[in-house]
Amino acid sequence: MSSYGRRILWVTLATAIVCVAIGLYIGLYLTNVPGSQAATRGPAGVTNLYLGTVPAAELTDPHPTWVSYYVVNPTSTNWKHDTTFVLPANSLVHVTIYQFDGDSGLRNPFISQATGTVGGNFLLNGKPTVAIDPDSASHVFAIPAIGLSVPLEGVPDNAKNPCSNAPCPLSMDHETISFTFRTPAKGLYRWQCFVPCAAGFIQGFGGPMQTVGYMDGFIKVV
């Protein structure tokens, strides 16, 4: 084979390798989506969704220092690191969030008031609450497309038994927030946190706030 032919062969081979690598990168990016968890249907027709928020993900997580939501089993520490929740359409969903993180404070105090819940309020450790002190907010569970927004009170700084990494047993210091909302029609809706809670990132809005699977995700209404 002539030197020109060899050169053509090498260039063709290199081009093919680069194209395959780019194709794999794009393909993996498009197919690598977080898993989803179906909520449990209760006896009275109300669907229950149990969530947890922690200061940092599991130590085995690719980002063990990132703040995160989890799907929680209230009777064990068998938590699932998924932020896509499958819920039935046009139904009442009762959400319980076990909140283990400290406060970060809301940038917009307006979001300290709950909206879009049944009754316009939520239970904070069993006490009916409409709004919290914006500075004591740790996180928010919000589905902007349906006007749902619930602030999550932070664990006090002087907590005796705080949890750092998921999963956190309920014996450790936490706040319990619960509320009920009605799901919309079938579709995919995003949810997010509104507190700039991503420690170590510019203005607290990088990392876990910008990555589906930590402080935001979807509700898949079916």
Binding site: S104, N108, F194, P196, I202
Partner: protein
């Protein structure tokens, strides 16, 4: 055929196609152009787009006519021999003169027209903290101030004339001058109310003022027009222009609904960034 004869034929073809197509474009296509006639500013933008399209049509036709004419008249007919380039054209002072005159005239006219339109009422664009162009109506009757607060990833709206209440959605009274004060709490967003003809960047620590004069009730789409993070594509809302009486009822209900949150809001200010920083930073 001589070069002069080709030129005359091209000019005639261009003239005929322009006389036929330009009115069709201006009278039929242009009125349906965005963003519609929902507000005075949106209607002004349709007028601007119509003028631009009316001037662009003959220019585009000139290029197309010459291209098609050249494909037909100057094609290589003898396929047996070597294809040769045509003789170069250089130094035609008449063509160069008129080319410069026409293109310069067009550009200068558009610059003047655009400036006049922009200075008449602001054309719905963000003008920064010290706007130089306000709608004529705003000079007699005070405009209704609405603060648009952008944050990752939703817009909220604050109303200094109504106790500083903040709302999740936007409703506006019909037949009114609205003075938007657009700001951001985090990164750069852009408030784009499509059917209102309003688009203003939301910069943290900045007060960007844009005016709009509503006309009749309508529904409008609000979108963020500046790539602002992972949920940028979901940062939208639907607003409504409603009769004044309906707006009065709505804002009263909002004040009651959001009374708990209003107690926590800081005093109304042109900007809020960057407080609080807290964990971030």
């Amino acid at each position: 055929m001589t070069g002069a004869q080709h030129f005359r034929r091209i000019v005639w073809l261009w003239l005929i196609s322009s006389v036929i197509l330009t009115p069709i474009v201006v009278l039929v296509l242009a009125p349906g152009m965005p963003p519609g006639n929902g507000t005075v500013e949106a209607a002004g933008q349709v007028t601007d787009n119509t003028v631009l399209l009316g001037l662009a049509t003959p220019v585009a036709l000139g290029v197309l006519v010459y291209f098609l004419y050249a494909c037909v008249a100057f094609r290589e007919r003898d396929t047996s021999g070597v294809v040769l380039d045509g003789p170069p054209i250089r130094g035609n002072a008449t063509i160069q003169f008129w080319w410069l005159v026409v293109t310069t005239g067009l550009v200068l006219f558009l610059a003047g027209f655009g400036s006049v339109e922009l200075l008449s009422d602001g054309a719905g664009g963000g003008q920064g903290p010290n706007p130089i162009a306000a709608p004529a109506q705003a000079k007699g009757d005070p405009a209704l101030q609405v603060q648009v607060i952008a944050q990752q990833w939703q817009f909220t709206y604050r109303w200094p004339a109504y106790g500083g209440v903040e709302t999740q959605h936007l409703e506006l009274p019909a037949n009114s001058v609205i003075e938007f004060h657009v700001t951001s709490l985090d990164v750069i967003h852009s408030f784009w109310a499509y059917q209102l003809g309003v688009k203003a960047d939301a910069n943290p620590g900045e007060d960007n003022i844009a005016y709009v004069t509503t006309k009749y009730p309508l529904t409008f789409n609000i979108r963020c027009a500046e790539l602002c993070g992972v949920w940028h594509g979901y940062m939208y809302d639907t607003g409504h222009v409603v009769p004044k009486s309906q707006f009065a009822s709505w804002i009263t209900a909002q004040r009651v609904k959001y009374a708990p949150a209003t107690k926590s809001l800081p005093p109304y200010s042109k900007t809020y960034f960057p407080d609080p920083q807290r964990r971030g930073g």
